[in-house]
Symmetry: C2
Subunit: 87 residues, 2 copies
Amino acid sequence: MYVILVYDIGEKRVGKMLKLCRQYLNWIQNSVFEGEITDVKLKELGFRAKEIMKMEEDSLIIFKSRNEKWLDKQILGKEKSEPDIFL
Amino acid sequence: MYVILVYDIGEKRVGKMLKLCRQYLNWIQNSVFEGEITDVKLKELGFRAKEIMKMEEDSLIIFKSRNEKWLDKQILGKEKSEPDIFL
């Protein structure tokens, strides 16, 4: 399954969340990730994300598609060329 | 066509971009929008977004899908219930 993941997380927790999501998906923008992932791995990611999040303040959205081919991506402006720059 | 739009925009320009995107799509998270849009309207949005953006600093990504049914959405944490809160 192909997913797009976006989060809006308090500053104190954002480093942890970035690190977590990069273990499962490709980082494509500040708080946006995408990639192929299995159901099991996605559940694991969701479980671990909840441990980091303050549920009443933070938000995480996952868009799922059965097939990446159904999605077309267009980028305006700067492309993230150095995914490791902040780590 | 159904799109997901995410941006990473300098603080000085983010208000303008939010206002612009809300004219075309539904705001679902801090810098994330989704919705049905025509090709013509999407081109118009892209053109107007470029006028706001600093292309060497800012980034905007549009994911396109021919049919929303192909996408499934899962939300963890806080849902944006008051889309007008910051305007």
